[in-house]
């Protein structure tokens, strides 16, 4: 390899979240490399919102994100999965009655 460019690898990675118009929540769009938050926002705008996809952008240094481990995905989410009585379908209603 003739040249290894260290100037690019020193830029930290930022995760980009964009909020679509219409009051929807921010969602993960992808990531960008940037030396600081200001340039991360500009890069995110240029890369992820060329067609009016967003009314707001968040950028977060990727290293600051804590995520649940995929290995215990099952047990970790069990408390939510084993309670069918949290869903309306769990309940019986008299035939022919319109509940909703």
């Amino acid at each position: 390899m003739a040249t290894t460019d260290t100037s690019a690898s020193e830029w930290p990675l930022w995760e980009v979240f964009t909020q679509p118009p219409g009051g929807k929540p921010h969602e993960h769009a992808g990531s960008v490399h940037a030396p600081d938050a200001e340039i991360a926002l500009q890069n995110a705008r240029d890369v992820y919102t060329r067609r009016g996809e967003a009314v707001s952008i968040w950028v977060v240094p990727s290293v600051l994100i804590s995520a649940s481990a995929p290995g215990d995905a099952g047990p970790w989410f069990d408390p939510g999965n084993d309670k069918p009585y949290r869903h309306p379908q769990f309940y019986k209603t008299p035939r022919g009655v319109k509940v909703f």
Binding site: M1, D5, T6, S7, A8, W11, V47
Partner: protein
């Protein structure tokens, strides 16, 4: 998360079985999930090649931005070329989730042995080439990428969904340009026909070797990274394109092209794979020029990257310490 690629240890059979079960259930594989080393390697290769192709793809079209014949065409071409740069960035970002650094990917591409799509090593000789690239090259890319939008690796699939939303504009503007020239003066008609004659076969080669000769296809299909084979996708593209050519009264340069009633397919004549091999191994008409242009852009942008890094470092210094 990453494993040294130089030590291919045998995979844990229990994890392997679970991975296969997940694929069978059409679950997506996410960055932190366990995955076989071979899957990670194949994906890294495929996604980085794809990202490099998007970026190098800006060059043949960028060549005509200053010479676009109207302000409308110039704006369209600028937007299209900018999209291609964006596509490269979406996929680099996805590739990085596999544990490889972006700078390393770019280094492999500029100074190493990483490949990119053979199509971008052909020259854009005339203005009509810009229309034909949008119509045929982006048209072929859409067929490929629509399938990849359901790839098993989540970040790749999501990048493809984003890209597919933008590609239709690329194809439409190209086909419109071709249709306009085809309705124009005899010289304009001849220009678009000549461009189609030159780009048709390289566009068909974009789908890669025939299924029997494709070294990576088996794994990629097994891992559900690819859901359709090279030949299936190529056939789909031919079937879509033949009527489009007819509609603008342009012929495709294949004397063997014929409709097969039984299968409902347009069958093509033999592809010149010797040419394909030459181009992917570095001997296409523009390989050297393309790489030289990319290297120059990277080198000439170095001071910008360094200045931005210096500025960020200076601003993050505690107050009072700044010079």
């Amino acid at each position: 998360m990453t494993t040294d690629p130089k030590t291919p240890a045998p995979e844990d059979p229990a994890k392997m079985a679970e991975f296969d079960t997940r694929l069978a259930r059409d679950e997506t594989i996410e960055p932190k999930d366990w995955m076989p080393e071979k899957y990670r390697k194949q994906l890294t290769r495929m996604m980085s090649q794809h990202a490099h192709s998007e970026v190098v793809g800006m060059l043949p079209e960028g060549n005509w931005i200053t010479r676009a014949p109207s302000l409308r065409r110039k704006m369209v071409l600028l937007a299209k070329v900018q999209d291609e740069g964006g596509h490269g960035l979406y996929i680099y970002c996805g590739a990085e989730t596999l544990g490889i650094d972006r700078a390393e990917l770019i280094d492999q591409y500029l100074y190493g042995t990483a490949k990119y799509s053979s199509i971008f090593n052909y020259p854009t000789l005339a203005w009509a080439d810009i229309g034909v690239i949008g119509w045929l090259v982006d048209g072929a890319a859409i067929v490929n990428q629509t399938m990849l939008a359901r790839a098993s690796y989540g970040p790749y699939a999501r990048a493809m969904i984003r890209i597919c939303k933008e590609e239709n504009f690329h194809k439409r503007q190209g086909y419109e340009l071709c249709a306009t020239l085809a309705r124009g003066t005899p010289a304009q008609r001849a220009m678009v026909q000549d461009a189609v004659n030159r780009w048709w076969w390289p566009s068909l080669m974009m789908f890669g070797p025939h299924d029997g000769d494709s070294p990576n296809s088996g794994d990629l299909l097994k891992w559900k990274v690819k859901l359709k084979s090279n030949d299936d996708l190529r056939q789909r593209f031919v079937n879509l394109t033949v009527p489009q050519a007819k509609a603008i009264e342009i012929t495709l340069p294949d004397p063997d092209l014929r409709y097969d009633e039984a299968s409902g397919n347009w069958l093509i004549g033999p592809i010149d794979w010797a040419e394909f091999k030459q181009v992917i191994s570095g001997n296409g008409p523009c390989n050297h020029e393309r790489l030289a242009a990319r290297r120059a852009a990277h080198e000439e942008g170095r001071w910008v990257r360094e200045a931005a890094a210096a500025y960020a470092a200076k601003r993050s210094e505690p107050a009072g310490q700044a010079a």
